[in-house]
Amino acid sequence: MEDLVQYTVYGLLTGGLLLLSTVGFTLVRKVDGFLNIAHAELIAFAAFSGWFLNVRVGWPFLLASTIAVAATMLLSLGVQRLVFAPMRPYGPPILLITSVGVAFALQGLIQMAVGGGTFLYRLEPPALLRVAGVQMNPFQLIVLVAALVTTLLLHLLLTMTRMGLRVRAVSINPALAENRGIRLQQTSQAAWAFAGFTAGLTGIGLGAIGTLTTDLAFEQILLIVAVAIFAGFGSLVDLLVAALLTGVGMKLSLLLLPSAYQTAVPFLIILIVLLFRPEGLRSGKAA
């Protein structure tokens, strides 16, 4: 029973990271209509540029991570402008395949820059928090809070600002939106800036919580896709629930299955969701 509570808490904390990594991916999918496989490379870029500034250059963690997040946003905007914006007319399936190429290119560049092995931030590991007998890593708690705040921020941006209104219009019907004078390139850039920002936070979070390996991006994209499908590209609430449930599911599976199967759990979730409820958590109405 104690195990159950402890693992559920671990799961919720993991879910925070999943939420942060998926929210930008989902926004790009809504605005540009394709799954950006290279989103995980943005996360890896943030994690390793943070590591580079923190360890190689020797800047303090907060400064290094701020610059890393900013650099990730710039990279995100650059990739959008150079690669995806000119190719938008080719349609989503081609953009999806292109994003695989972008992912390979970025992954190769990151590996060339940092080499192989494992990487640790120069950061005191914090003392574990104990609340009512349940252990937590305070950094993970911070990530969870950051994820919730970012998601709330996105919700407010989407519902309260004119840009949010444009983004929603484009995600529902791009042709009509463009006809009504909305500039697709502008809304798309806004979405990519946000995606770069959240990817940056995710990368820094991953670096702060654990060790980094160059396989990071690949592991991340699997999880991102699983959560996004589970949520069904619906509302942010759906995404929140899907991320937290996936996190809890992965950790609780440790009690039942050998830990080697843990990475397969998100995929079992995808398969079950696609088989029985292809629209995911989203309610019957089309988004």
């Binding site: 938008r88 399936p93 395949i97 292109t98 695989v100 390979f104 992954q107 560049l109 699983a226 292809p278």
Partner: protein, 321 residues
């Protein structure tokens, strides 16, 4: 002699990849199915071949299956395994369209990979299964490489012929019609779901065969050989060669694998090996993006989620948003 042997090795790899690419070409260019999990069908074939041909386990082995059958039966088994895995995965995958097919096949491949690592009794886990080199009883080491190269080329020829015949047949033309206009094809009374299934299964069986040949080539099948990178390498080859081109798959594989082997020659010293393999990854990705940008395959423009592609048709109106 050494160079001939090396060259034959490269040709063998190219031929095996070409067979996988042909199966993808069939599924994607003609069936409009984005299979991001090709590697799983190859893996199914490779493991089936290994299990059918390896000697029964001794007391020291972890694996529990080994039939010790001759090579041709192993290859038949590889085809059957690809087909069987295709049949299992087709039902959920083919109910979906476009990017969702990509994701489901990708997910199946990951789950399958995880199974290969974890079911030690069948796959021998990370240690893998050893395969006896074909023809080793009556040929020298160099001779084996040459004969095996010809053997694989013969299979490539057969698969190429099969794919071309399929595409040119009335069956292939209906499949083409589906990927151009699914609703239209359905409305003239064609059983769209069954045709999509048949294309998918044919592709799976071909991938299974390639897996069997690959197992014979590497002589040790371990899960790490069947990572998602293989799927994407084949995708890049297909894109490079051109989708729906008669020999596109072949040309793409020759360019890609030739290119990768060339990068391998830049520097063979061990301390640079990691750098070179990263460079190869980066260049491969960049090549893929450039090719897609310059020469996008046209058939997928009508794919499942065609709506956003209409954006280009609508002229930009310069009014205030």
């Amino acid at each position: 002699m050494n160079w001939v042997v090396f060259g034959t090795g490269v040709v063998t790899v190219i031929a095996i990849y070409a067979i996988i690419t042909l199966s993808l070409d069939l599924q994607f260019s003609y069936g409009n199915l984005i299979n991001f999990g090709v590697v799983a069908y190859v893996a199914a074939g490779a493991y089936a071949y290994a299990i059918l041909t390896q000697p029964p386990p001794t007391a020291f082995d972890d694996y529990r299956l080994g039939a010790g059958l001759p090579m041709p039966i192993g290859l038949l088994g590889a085809v059957a395994a690809g087909l069987a895995f295709g049949a299992i995965t087709a039902w959920p995958s083919l109910r979906l369209r476009g990017e969702y097919v990509a994701l489901t096949t990708f997910a199946f491949a990951e789950v399958f990979h995880s199974l290969l690592v974890n079911t030690r009794a069948v796959s021998n886990g990370l240690i893998g299964l050893i395969i006896l080199r074909p023809f080793q009883s009556f040929l020298t080491a160099d001779g084996q490489v040459l004969v095996f190269g010809l053997f694989v080329l013969a299979f490539l020829g057969a698969v190429y012929w099969l794919v071309r015949r399929t595409v040119d047949s009335p069956f292939g033309q209906v499949v083409l019609a589906i990927s151009d206009d699914e609703l239209g094809t359905r409305s003239i009374g064609k059983n769209v779901d069954r045709l999509r299934l048949q294309v998918f299964l044919l592709g799976s069986a071909i991938s299974g065969l390639a897996g069997g040949l690959y197992a014979m080539y590497v002589t040790l099948v371990v899960p790490s050989l069947f990572a998602a990178e293989l799927s994407f390498t084949v995708w890049i080859a297909l894109v490079l060669g051109g989708v729906r081109k008669r020999s596109g798959a072949l040309i793409g594989v020759i360019i890609l694998i030739g290119f990768q082997e060339l990068v391998r020659f830049i520097d063979l010293s061990p301390d640079r090996a990691a750098l070179v393999s990263s460079l190869r990854l980066a260049l491969t990705g960049a090549l893929m993006v450039v090719v897609l940008k310059v020469r996008p395959p046209e058939n997928v423009l009508t794919g499942a989620a065609a709506q956003p592609s209409q954006r280009s048709i609508i002229p930009r109106l310069r009014t205030r948003a």
